[in-house]
């Protein structure tokens, strides 16, 4: 299933066309854009691909540059999450924290690409919040116990 849907929330939503066709079993692609809640001149773009056992997500800040790529996965039996940078970045950069928290919320392996600039904690937190809300609405997150 492929869906392009506008996200909710203040700051204006870029509505996109909806496609409800089945394209391959188990793959769900969602793309949407939204203005940042705190910066009216910043557009955040989100690209989410749900695979059977994994989630790939990209967060774009104003541009369509790929940015840095991170991978994160749960490390059973403990509750911790392992995270590493794959392309660009380092393990303590912006996207790595988001990737780690996505694993905690979804329980799945996460591969995240992100081009949010450094030293933008408010923007980073806003982008993560929008992304998590979308994942919840798509049903990708673990139910809270």
């Amino acid at each position: 299933m492929v869906s392009n849907g506008g996200g909710g929330g203040g700051g204006g939503v870029q509505a996109a066309m909806k496609a409800d066709d089945e394209v391959g079993s188990g793959l769900q692609l969602t793309c949407f854009s939204q203005l940042s809640d705190h910066h009216d001149d910043v557009s955040l773009h989100f690209h989410i691909l749900r695979l059977h056992k994994q989630i790939y997500a990209w967060i774009g800040c104003n541009s369509a540059k790929f940015g840095h790529l991170y991978a994160a996965a749960p490390t059973p039996p403990s509750n911790t999450v392992g995270v590493t940078s794959l392309i660009g970045g380092a393990s303590d950069n912006i996207g790595s924290g988001i990737a780690r928290r996505l694993v905690l919320k979804t329980g799945l392996n996460v591969v995240l690409a992100c081009n949010i600039p450094k030293n933008s904690p408010i923007l980073e937190a806003n982008a993560e919040k929008i992304l998590v809300q979308k994942l919840i609405s798509l049903g990708y997150t673990k139910p809270k116990i």
């Binding site: 509505a15 394209v23 692609l29 854009s33 557009s43 695979l51 994994q54 540059k65 794959l86």
Partner: protein, 201 residues
């Protein structure tokens, strides 16, 4: 299936095919500076490779391909990435490639099937395609969104209906992405138009 949206800055293509009787899902996404190709038979991204063209002085391009996640001892995966980045480069694009292969087997037949399916999709979906090399018309809109058509003789391309807004405040104007044109040429054409227009505001 092409997933496109006039506002969203990425172009996505999804397809599903059978390779050696195994269902293979392929997703191709076109970023500003990268192509992302995901081919999976196992429900996850599998091994992730990064390939790019090296800047060099020699006429023949060289490429750097590395495994950034997953199996590092499978030369066929590296060869697959190498073929795709060479195709991207030969078509005029300087974008790098992030290739993700989650496959049940790494046989030549499987990887050839993936390479040919991806190359065919690249061509079909105008990610990379050179139609003609004779310009007859280009258009650039300036701040007031009024088209200002100019005619040049050197390259020919078609304008597509969607626009991509420049976000930099110092560069007002809307540039029309180009259809059926090599992506490397697209960048050059845009720069050429801006040069011809001077500093259009």
């Amino acid at each position: 299936m092409e997933v496109s949206d006039p506002v969203f800055p990425l172009r996505n293509t999804m397809l599903s095919l059978n390779i050696k009787e195994r269902k293979t899902d392929i997703v191709i996404s076109s970023y500003e500076d990268h192509f992302l190709v995901i081919a999976t038979q196992i429900g996850s991204m599998g091994t992730i490779l990064h390939a790019r063209k090296e800047e060099g002085v020699s006429v023949d391009p060289t490429f750097s391909v590395s495994v950034v996640f997953g199996k590092r001892d499978e030369p066929m995966l590296v060869a697959c990435a190498r073929q795709l980045i060479e195709h991207i480069s030969n078509s005029g694009s300087s974008k790098a490639l992030v290739l993700s292969l989650g496959l049940r087997d790494h046989s030549t037949e499987t990887l050839k099937g993936i390479v040919s399916a991806v190359i065919e999709k690249f061509a079909e979906n105008i990610h990379i395609k050179l139609v003609e090399y004779d310009i007859t018309r280009a258009a650039i809109t300036t701040g007031a969104n009024t088209p200002d058509v100019l005619t040049e003789k050197h390259l020919h391309f078609q304008l597509i209906e969607q626009s991509r807004k420049k976000t930099s405040k110092s560069q007002k104007g809307v540039l029309y992405p180009l259809k059926d044109c090599s992506l490397g040429v697209e960048t050059n054409i845009i720069e050429y138009i801006k040069l011809q227009h001077g500093n259009a505001n």
